[in-house]
């Protein structure tokens, strides 16, 4: 039942009923139902440069019905019933809301009271379990997370959104004034068009820096799309950048800090997805994105302010340790295609230095367009990985 890219509208109800039918008929025959799911962890990741993102290996997790798992299964099927109702009606909920919906329904039925959740952690894990066994992502179950990041600015981009009632909405980003366009958690139903040729898309790690670029007139002067990532990219940002890559076929650059966390968590997730989302990386990664900076050579070239990694800072120290682990265990960094990124990680481990993206503002500090000039200069000179 491996279906990584579910597109059909009725796929979730179909797969759910298929699953329930299998469990029920096993029970009728006195057989133990066994639920199979793809193992989503680093030890089950495969990275092929031709595919471009992390895909699952052959490892599966099996959940067999027994005394220990009967509670988990009963809760999952109960939650599935609520989710199917949402999918059918087009209703959506956050995980928190689903937690309370469940509690409300369980309160009304004495027989189901044992299924009640102590806290949201329990109900969240049940939703994740459903995603694993149906091999889908939770947005397909109409369970959305808060939208975060992805604020997009462009004078050329037009977005056509297919609404659930069948109608379409057209959003011309040049008409939004200073407001950005925000992609939703399921950007697959967006169609992108351009009014004029767009040269590139720039994804900036810091939302604030993206906003500064735009406020200073970057998108006026350069036909481009500027996206603010706001830290580790959310599903919305990942799906949105993937959409830009697939539909507009333009170069995409990522610009962020020079540190292990940015390379290994933020950039790797945007480019190739993550181990925990193996089954949805196909729709939520943009393999063509390039790392524009900050590069180690930029520090010398632009005489940037760099800082030593503080051994006393737990987060920074852990980040370096994770970088070492990534070089050892992450198949993404084992690929020769990503040798440039490996070199950066090795440089970071060796030098124990970090440089922030905003350090470029120290170059020609009085000139508000200096930063824009450097970005364009780097793109033109091919100074990226």
């Amino acid at each position: 039942m491996v279906r990584y890219a579910i597109r059909e509208k009725d796929a979730i109800p179909f797969l759910s009923k298929e699953l329930c039918e299998k469990i029920l008929s096993d029970l009728e025959q006195g057989k133990r139902p066994v639920l199979k799911a793809t193992k989503c962890s680093l030890d089950n990741c495969i990275y092929s440069p031709t595919v471009g993102y992390l895909t699952p290996g052959s490892k599966k997790t099996l959940t067999e019905l027994n005394v220990a798992s009967v509670k988990k299964m009963a809760r999952a099927i109960f939650m599935l019933e609520i989710i199917l109702r949402n999918v059918k009606s087009g209703g959506v909920n956050t995980k928190r809301e689903l937690y309370y919906v469940c509690k409300g329904l369980l309160k009304q039925n004495k027989d189901l009271k044992p299924l009640d959740f102590e806290d949201q952690v329990e109900s969240d894990s049940v939703i994740d379990f459903i995603c694993e066994i149906l091999e889908c992502y939770r947005e397909e179950l109409n369970c959305y997370a808060n939208d975060r990041g992805g604020q997009t600015y462009s004078k050329q981009l037009v977005v056509v959104e297919k609404l659930t009632d069948g109608t379409e909405a057209t959003i011309d980003l040049s008409q939004l004034g200073t407001s950005p366009f925000m992609p939703k958690n399921r950007p697959q139903n967006l169609v992108l068009k351009v009014k004029k040729k767009v040269e590139f898309c720039l994804v900036v790690e810091s939302e604030g820096t993206a906003n500064t670029l735009v406020a200073n007139g970057f998108t006026h002067r350069t036909p481009s799309i500027v996206v603010g990532a706001q830290g580790v990219p959310s599903n919305a940002v990942r799906g949105w950048v993937k959409r830009i890559q697939d539909q507009l076929n333009i170069p995409i650059f990522f610009f962020g800090d020079l540190d292990a966390y940015t390379i290994q968590n933020i950039y790797r997730t945007l480019k190739a997805g993550s181990a925990s989302s193996l089954i949805r990386n196909a729709d939520f990664s943009a393999p063509d994105v390039k790392f524009l900076g900050v590069l180690p050579q930029d520090i010398q070239k632009y005489d940037l302010f760099a800082y030593d990694v503080r051994e006393s800072d737990v987060v920074e120290k852990r980040s370096l340790k994770k970088a070492r682990d990534a070089l050892e265990n992450d198949p993404f960094f084992h690929s020769r295609r990503n040798k440039g990124l490996v070199n950066i990680l090795e440089w970071l481990i060796e030098k124990k230095q970090r440089c922030e993206q905003q350090a470029f503002f120290s170059v020609d500090a009085g000139n508000p367009r200096a930063f824009e000039r450097i970005i364009l200069e780097k793109i033109e000179a091919g100074s990226y990985v």
């Binding site: 759910s16 009923k17 329930c20 039918e21 469990i23 029920l24 096993d26 029970l27 009728e28 025959q29 006195g30 057989k31 133990r32 019905l65 027994n66 005394v67 009967v70 509670k71 299964m73 009963a74 099927i77 109960f78 599935l80 019933e81 199917l84 027989d111 189901l112 044992p114 299924l115």
Partner: protein
Amino acid sequence: MTEKNKITSSSTAEYFAKNLQQVGFSSPMKAVLTTLKEALDNSLDACEEHKILPDIQIYVRRIGKGNLKNTDRILIGVEDNGPGLSVEHTPMVFGEYLASSKFGRGRCTRGQQGIGISAATTWAVQTSATGARVLTKQKGQRLALSCVVAIDYKKNKGLMQEKEMVAWEKPHGTRVEFVIDGRVQLNGEAGLLAYLRGNVLLNPHLSLTYELPDMEKVHIPRVSEEAPQIPDATPPHPHTMKLGEFISHARLFGSKKLMDWLCKEFSRMTPDVVEEIRKSVKLPAVILTKPVSALKDDQLQILYQAIQDAPLKPPSTQSVMAIGEDALSISIQRLGDIDYFSVVSRKPSICDFKPIQVEVAIARLSTKEGSAEEPVQVLRFANRVPLQFDKSSCAIVKAITSVLWRAYGLKQSKGSLPVGPYIMAVSVVSPFIKFKNASKETIDASDELVLEIRKALMKGGQELSKHLNRESKAKDLEAKKAHIEQFGPALVESLCRILAAPASRKKLAEEGIQKILGRDDRAAQRALDHAEEKLSEHMEKQKKRLVQFSEEDHQLELDESRKEEE
């Protein structure tokens, strides 16, 4: 040093009168406990020495306000059915320091040096200006001796006052009363009840009646009719002696031939071993036939050093006495409502070159409120005397905390005492226990001793785990049954609603799920059966031992009555 700083000598009594804190009188609370302890230890030792089953009455009463700040005037009385004391010995026992019938004899008696009871008299004299009031009668005497014993500190002598001969209905025995300033603490590890409870556990042959403040009178009958046999001391092992001791020992046996002295007055020395030792230091063969007095100190020193280098057998373990698993099994049940228990009596062994025997009793009390998360109660004993102070540095506590009790089903944080409603009683018996201080409150934690105690505790833990294992399997089965009942129908219900399945399918699926989960249920039942089987085998063995023990008791009773009839 000038003539102004004149050097004077003090008597032992004067020393202890100024340093009573060294022998357990460091606070009013400890004074009450130590006084009672010294009197009771003496009574028990006297009874055992004369093979009398002890029948002891204790009373502790508040009789007024104490002279010391924040104290009460306390009357402590201990009455036994022991052999009684002669007129000559009475002031020595209660009023003379280091007057003892047990000093240096190398036997497993409670008292050793003859300090404790004289210290109690000193405390009584110091705080309430009265000595020990004694009433004692020996077998065959018509009247009992009644007197007050005080102390002449300068001469370290007991002073007998108010002496008179009085009628006493007891055929023999001793009653001693002290009036002291003190404070009574009944509960807690340092309380009187813990002390009495410890004595009750380790002395199954003791019949005890006690009357404590704010409590009803309590009588605990004996559960064993057999008085413990205190093994005779064995000759000293030469490796346990220092050079000075060795030479002094030699001077006591002046006319004895060297060979005879070495072979008869020391353990583990045989003619072959002595010959080997002589050859190793190239002493002439004739020396062995000479009297010991003919040897000079330097010759004795050469001999001593050669003996120390010789690979002798370890000391004999015959001088240690044990309570025994059977007696402990019966005795532990006197401690309260007990669910189950395990007892372990290790074979005597050698620790730090001293014979020693360790016994352990672990009992789970029927759950008391709030005790589930509290550390276990530890009862420590040295030569059957409860130890109640300075717990943390004691070898027994170190051994308990070194065991991983979680492996046996008890809760425990690493390096701490386990928690739960358990009593862990550990008894160390040896003619030469290494105490950390003169008041004998804690046993020195040498690695060898801690290891020996640890082994006994681990065996006890293994036995206890059989009970705990059965309990956990029973809980497991119960939980599984409840789980199946709760979640099985809910799963089928949701599945049928999603699929809009007819009632017939629902019924079939419900039967199916019961069948599937019933297998798990049966597996849990089998695990429980297995645990129960193991436990009943263990209980059967234990019961057999107890029956055998009771039969022996019964036989003894028959023999006794037959003798009386004859």
